[in-house]
C-alpha cells in the first residue's frame, strides 16, 4: 500500500502529522508513540526571542472543544537550535518548524536561520500581530500576507514553505490564492478560532487573557468547509487541521481535498492519536480495496489522481 504524499520538496511516508503547539518538541510524546512512524512532526511555534506566554488560567474546556491562550510561549530560536533540535535530528521523520514573528524581518531571519541549520520545512503562523502595522494580524490582510510570504521566499529558497492560514477571514479562497501566488509550497489550515467563555458565578472570563483560540471536535465542520474551499482554489497541497480525533475525521479531510492532515487537540485526549489515525487510514484503504492514499484525496469532488480500486 502506498501512503506517501508530497508537500513541496518533501516526501512524507504518510499523511499524518502533529499540529504545532499540541506536540511540544516531540520528546514529550516519546512515551506514547513511535515518532519515526509519523509522516511529519510540526513543533511548537518558535520566535526569535523566547516568549514567556500569558498568565494563567490559560485553558478551559467548552462543549466538544477547548479554549487556549498560551500566548505563544516558546524557548526562542537559539535555545531551540541548541537544546531541542539535536533530539529532533535523531528522528527518522520530517521535522517542520512552525515560526512566528512581529515583523516581516522576524520571519525572514527565522526561516533563513532554520534553512541554514538543515531544517527542511517551515510553517508560517501568520495569525500574529504585525507590530509595525498597528498590530493587525498578517493572516487577515491579503497585501501584508503576500509581502510576508514573498520576502521569506526570496531569502530562504530551498526550504519548503507552508503558510498556515487564519480562519479569521471571510474569504478563504482569496487568502489561499495569495499564499500560492506569493511562493508558498503548501498551505495548512485552520488555526484556532478566536472565542470566549465566561464563569457565570464570578462574571469573569474563564481565561486570564479574556479570549482564547477554540480547537477540538467543535471546529471540525468549519475547518472541513475551509479546507475544501482552499483545495478547490489552489494547485499546491493543502494540509487539513481542525478537530481531527480519529481516522474517520482524517479521511473526511482527505476526501475534501487535503493532501495531509495534522492532529492537534486529539493528542491531549489520546496521546497515541496520531498512530491510531494512521492505522485507521490503512484499515480503511484495505476495506475499500484502494492501494494508494492518493486514491481518496479530493474524492468528494471526483478529483482523485488515482482512483483504481481493482488492484
Amino acid at each position: 500500500m502506498n501512503l506517501t504524499v508530497e508537500i513541496g520538496r518533501l516526501k512524507l511516508k504518510n499523511p499524518v502529522m502533529s499540529a504545532s503547539g499540541t506536540f511540544g518538541y516531540a520528546e514529550e510524546f516519546s512515551d506514547f508513540v513511535d515518532l519515526n512512524k509519523l509522516g511529519a512532526i510540526v513543533v511548537k511555534g518558535i520566535s526569535i526571542k523566547p516568549m514567556e506566554g500569558n498568565p494563567p488560567p490559560r485553558i478551559c474546556e467548552t462543549a466538544c472543544g477547548m479554549l487556549n491562550s498560551i500566548g505563544l510561549q516558546n524557548v526562542g530560536l537559539k535555545k531551540f537550535l541548541k537544546e531541542k533540535l539535536p533530539y529532533l535530528n535523531k528522528l527518522k521523520t520530517i521535522i517542520i518548524v512552525n515560526i512566528l514573528g512581529n515583523s516581516i524581518s522576524d520571519y525572514v531571519k527565522l526561516s533563513k536561520t532554520l534553512e541554514d541549520s538543515g531544517i527542511e520545512a517551515v510553517e508560517l503562523n501568520v495569525s500574529c500581530p504585525n507590530v509595525k502595522k498597528g498590530g493587525i494580524s498578517f493572516g487577515i490582510n491579503d497585501k501584508m500576507l503576500a509581502k510576508l510570504i514573498s520576502k521569506v521566499r526570496q531569502s530562504a529558497q530551498k526550504i519548503t514553505l507552508i503558510t498556515k492560514l487564519s480562519p479569521n477571514v471571510s474569504n478563504i479562497p482569496l487568502f489561499a490564492k495569495v499564499a500560492e501566488d506569493s511562493g508558498s509550497d503548501a498551505i495548512s489550515l485552520i488555526n484556532t478560532i478566536p472565542a470566549l467563555a465566561i464563569d457565570i458565578e464570578t462574571w469573569k472570563p474563564k481565561l486570564a487573557n479574556i479570549t482564547g483560540g477554540l480547537s477540538g471536535p467543535a471546529i471540525k465542520p468549519i475547518a472541513l468547509r475551509m479546507v475544501w474551499e482552499a483545495a478547490e482554489t489552489v494547485k499546491i497541497p493543502v494540509i487539513g487541521i481542525g478537530g481531527i480525533m480519529n481516522a474517520g475525521d482524517a479521511i473526511e479531510f482527505l476526501l475534501a481535498g487535503a493532501t495531509a492532515i495534522q492532529v492537534g487537540t486529539g493528542n491531549f485526549v489520546n496521546p497515541g492519536a496520531t498512530i491510531d489515525i494512521l492505522e485507521g487510514i490503512e484499515d480503511y484503504l484495505k476495506r475499500k480495496s484502494i492501494n494508494d492514499i492518493k486514491g481518496i484525496i479530493g474524492g468528494m469532488n471526483g478529483k482523485c489522481t488515482n482512483n483504481n480500486s481493482d488492484n
Binding site: 511540544g24 514529550e28 474546556e61 466538544c64 487556549n68 477540538g216 493528542n267 491531549f268 485526549v269 496521546p271
Partner: protein
Amino acid sequence: MSKNFRAKVINNFALNPRTFLLEIEPIEETIAPKPGQFYMIQPDSSYDPLLKRPFSYIRKSNGKIQFLCAIKGKGTRLMMNFHSNKIISMLGPFGNGYPIFKSNHISLLIAGGTGIASILSLSNEVQNKYLIYGARTRDELLLLDKIEELGDRFIVCTNDCSYGKKGMVDELLKDFISSHKDNINSIIIYACGPLPMLKAISKISAENNIKGFASLEENMACGFGACLGCAVKTKQGYQRVCKEGPVFPFKEIIW
C-alpha cells in the same frame, strides 16, 4: 509498561454528597507511582466532556489505585456514576511528586479538603511525621479511618468547630511551631489544599524559616508537558504544574 492505559473500576462510592472514593485496577502493565504524582482520568468517551481530568492518587496496593474526587462539574459528575467493572481510559503517573529526604527530620504534612488524597500518598512513605488536616465541616473531613492510626500526631480542625479544633490549618500550624521551637530547624512542611490555605502556610513558614513544599493545581489539557496550559508563575518564570510540578518549594512560587 505504558503511561496510556485502560483500567477497570473496582469500587466507587460516595463518602458525602459532594465526594466519592474511586478504586480502579489497570488492565495493562503500568508504572509505579511516587507520592504526590497524579493520573489523568477520562470521564466519558464522548467528546463532551473532552479532556481527561487530573487526580492525585491516595495509594496503590495489590495493583489497585485509589482516588478521592470532589464533584465540581461535568466530568466529576460523570465519574461519580462509574459502575464497577466499567473500563476507563487513563494516563499517568505524571508530575514530580514530593521530594523525600533521607536525613533525620520531622515531616509536617498539611492537608485541606480533598488535598488529603495527595498528602496520604506521602504519609505512607515518611517516618517521623505529624499531620494537620482541616475542612469546613465534619462532613468534609474524609478518610479519617486511614489517618487516625497516627494517634496524637494527627491534629484535625474544622472551620465551624463541628469536629476537632476550631479554626483553620494555618492557626494550627502556628500552634505547632510554637510547641516545637526547639527542633524547628528539622521541620519540613508538605502541603496540599486550596490556594488561600497554601498561601497562608507558605507565609508562616517563610516567617519561621521552615522549608516547605506545596502541591499546586491548574487547569490541564494534556497532563504530560505538551500543551503549556498548566503554567504557574515561579521565580524561574512560568513552569508547568504537570511536569516541573505539581510540587514546588514554597520559596519558588510567586503567589
